[in-house]
Symmetry: C2
Subunit: 526 residues, 2 copies
């Protein structure tokens, strides 16, 4: 495709996207296809001769689009939102055109520098402490691809920090830096392990120490926590939370666990505190956690605010709790997904840390072919040293476009729209009462409910069975709405409704409410 | 921005990209900016009120673009290429518009299904064994974001497979699956670790066994290998390679290392064999490696073909060696980056494995809120269970657009153009002779050379110093060309030139050659 062919095709695709958004409401929200549908439509090998763009483009409409679940549709209220905006589209298009995997500053200075700047914009919008800004010179951020990637990355830094502290406590028999080699080149890394005998004792010590590390979360922590432990081969302990606490981790529960484990020779090295859990939007008691952690200096506190973190841009959310103050005072890292409710296309997971060095000490490897004058001089940040991957996309551009075009005013209006629609829906449920029951305090734009025809509450096989049938009935309406199910302690099986697509209006909440009433009737009659 | 505003802005951006490509040759290849340049141009917080698109768009041209290093420019011959194509731009634009983090099949069936299909297209184009195709039902692929992510992901699978084998050998005292819990829900994961006492013995065994694992590569293996070990806290042993072997790992060197380590109670669990190293394009002797590995069933063989893998689509490359046969017969996994020389925008790193189960056993965690009817029934693949992250971008769309629009014919023509230009450049260097010297066999589109005015060869401080000055001189021409430096065993400091941008023609090689001669003159006169 040459420049003029691209001009024509590009204009057509832009027009198609306009048509797509104009017709979003008429499309089935959930894809109405069966597993394997695409294999029937797509040849089993690449064509030998190039094909015309018009043919490819037609296939996109006729083969691909019917198999897409429309997360931007107003009836999409499942999982968490994955906002797309036109500004984000334009940024991704620009980024694709100048494609460069900016692993070093010099690979594309704008990519590194804009990322650092917009991270400061986000941190300020959320009222994070100046300690998390690049201007602190010590703390700062990086945009990663997902909260999962954030969890693994932070856990590596926390592990290395804990091992370094343990090693310091043990004395000079082991490397004082705990095994992190900030400036190691590939050759040095090679040498270092080449004769393992010399390091045999050190390796055994490290293996044993690593085996004693324990990361903490709750039964409500997102599976990214236990998955990070699975990946790194570390122990994860999920603490119990109670319905009466709104599923928040309390300080006394944490303290008891830390004391028990420490008494057994284990080393608590990381805690994931959640600001807005997936199942119910619960917020752990970050203040109490921060207090307890003061007695455990090795415990890295990470706040996973993947979904709800963006809501800290609202004064009414910040002022309603002590969570922000606790994060700013006590937490080592904080992450929220701009690609959920934050108007920025997937993927965009900003991570803020109080000590950038904790990441770079754990993650830097610099072979000769990655060295640059500026990198050697330390006059720039090479962001690859704060992440797993070498290459990186130009993700900050979409943040820049979105925040400038919406302004913080528009950003907050979008969040408030979601919250107000969801709280209105919760009010409707509450007023209607039986057979519906809200099962957790509605948080942000998330409402969790179930059928409880007698209002008995609690957890029972009968209620679970009833609500699984209710869930089956809801899924029959997948063309109109998409919701998700979950399981809550002391409750059991229940249904989540999350408002967040920019296209969702009151009329779509009304539609969801009508469908839920129909499904409830059907389920109860059956 | 509403639909009509996007239509206007979208058309403008498409036209801008056309202008950008038309003017690519006139732009400085390397960004001519100083560290911190952007901080002066960008306000230090997000605007309160939304700004006009015209203002934002103007800033993109005036503030961002000057800080971009143009990897698509014909004079970009550094690192490895990061191809962008118009087809890739259109795919990324569509993907941004329908943005969805397709972690489950149901989240967007087309995203999962197209990925599986185009991976088969790629595997067939590269003549990989049917064992690596989805149609094998056992093997198959996934598109990850980078070769680094591939290395970590595969290493987790290799570690778990090795631990399971060790555990089987040890008997029933430890879980037979080696600790992997394919179907664990978050709650179960919680329970499992809740009372660590019950698993104390198991944990100690696992910790000790993990500490004995060793991964292998060579001094030429990309730093992604040692970095994966750094992340996972595992030992990496970099084996020596010789210039006389073209920097390829030989079977006898590997066997000696495996015997030594096994004798010491260590457990070799993974080897990264490279098809096209970063420093010199070297290819390890995969046939000899495969033979040796037959005696070490626990050794996972991964082939990192990040750069050169796409060249296996050329019969002349496939037929020139026994490497493909060795991969197909002996290797457990294979990865190449379509986003380097493969015409697909960053990021796109296909990973092929012989046993998908090795990934899913190591990486599956399924809380209730991620369960789906089809996932529970096992009638679909949920690709999140083969990777670190939960969310995933619609990366297969760009592969589909590119391979269809270019056809395999066009794909191969692009590769042959790069190879032919690079080999022509190597020929020029060879014919010219002193003060230039080619220091490793030119491979694919990569030529590694240095100044060696006396033709003495070998490694010396004098030659290193001279070539570091030569490198300084070359960097003065960053507006015209971009190259990269490296260090090779038995050689020392040298310069890499890689052809790969679709825009590079003979005239640009001629320009590079003129600049290199000028730089050589200056360096030698100084």
């Amino acid at each position: 495709m040459d420049i003029e062919a691209f001009r024509k095709a590009g204009h057509e695709v832009v027009d198609k996207i306009c048509d797509y958004y104009a017709s979003l409401e008429q499309r089935p929200v959930g894809a109405q296809v069966k597993p394997g549908f695409l294999r029937e439509a797509v040849p089993d090998e690449a064509p030998e001769k190039g094909e015309e763009w018009s043919v490819i483009s037609k296939d996109y409409d006729e083969i691909i689009l019917p198999g897409i679940t429309h997360w931007q549709a107003p009836g999409f209220m499942a999982y968490f939102p994955a906002n797309a905006t036109f500004e984000g589209c334009l940024a991704d298009l620009h980024a694709a055109a100048i494609s460069n995997p900016a692993f070093n500053w010099s690979c594309s200075p704008s990519v590194t520098e804009l990322e650092i700047l917009v991270l400061d914009w986000i941190a300020k919008a959320l009222h994070l402490s100046p300690a998390f800004l690049s201007t602190s010179e010590v703390g700062g951020g990086i945009i990663l691809g997902s909260a999962s990637e954030v969890a693994v990355t932070v856990m590596v830094a926390a592990r290395e920090r804990a091992l370094a502290m343990l090693s310091d406590a043990r004395g000079a028999e082991v490397p004082a830096d705990g095994g992190a080699r900030p400036e190691a080149t590939v050759q040095e890394t090679g040498t270092q392990h080449k004769d393992l005998d010399d390091e045999e004792q050190w390796g055994k010590w490290r293996g044993d120490a690593t085996g004693r590390l324990v990361a903490y979360g709750t039964t409500q922590t997102h599976s990214i926590g236990s998955k990070a432990c699975l990946i790194l081969g570390l122990a994860f302990r999920a603490l119990d939370v109670k319905a009466e606490d709104g599923y928040a981790l309390r300080g006394d529960v944490l303290r008891k666990a830390l004391e028990e484990d420490t008494a057994k020779g284990r080393v608590p090295f990381m805690l994931i505190g959640t600001f807005g859990t997936t199942s119910s939007g619960a917020v752990d008691n970050l203040k109490e956690i921060g207090q307890v952690a003061k007695d455990y200096p090795m415990l890295w506190l990470h706040c996973d605010a993947a979904y709800a973190g963006v809501a800290m841009s609202l004064p009414e959310v910040r002022e309603a709790s002590t969570d922000l103050a606790a994060i700013n005072e006590c937490f080592d890292s904080y992450s929220t997904n701009m690609h959920k409710w934050g108007l920025v296309q997937f993927d965009c997971s900003p991570l803020f840390v109080r000590d950038r060095g904790a990441l770079t000490r754990a993650l830097t490897v610099t072979p000769e072919y990655l060295r640059t004058k500026h990198g050697d001089a330390g006059s720039v940040l090479d962001l690859r040293n704060m992440q797993i991957s070498l290459g990186r996309r130009f993700r900050s551009l979409k943040v820049w476009f979105v925040l400038r075009s919406f302004g913080l005013e528009g950003f907050r209006a979008h969040l408030r729209n979601g919250i107000s629609l969801a709280q209105g829906f919760a009010e409707q449920l509450r007023e209607h009462g039986k057979p519906f029951a809200i099962v957790a305090p509605p948080r942000y734009a998330l409402v969790v409910f179930r059928l409880d025809p007698t209002g008995a509450g609690g957890q029972s096989e009968e209620l679970d069975a009833l609500n699984r049938r209710f869930w089956e009935a809801i899924q029959e309406y997948s063309k109109e709405i998409q919701l998700t199910q979950t399981v809550l302690p002391e409750v059991g099986f229940c249904i989540r409704l999350v408002v967040g697509a920019p296209s969702t209006r009151q009329q779509h909440i009304d539609m969801a409410w009508r469908i839920l009433q129909e499904c409830a009737d059907k389920t109860l009659k059956a």
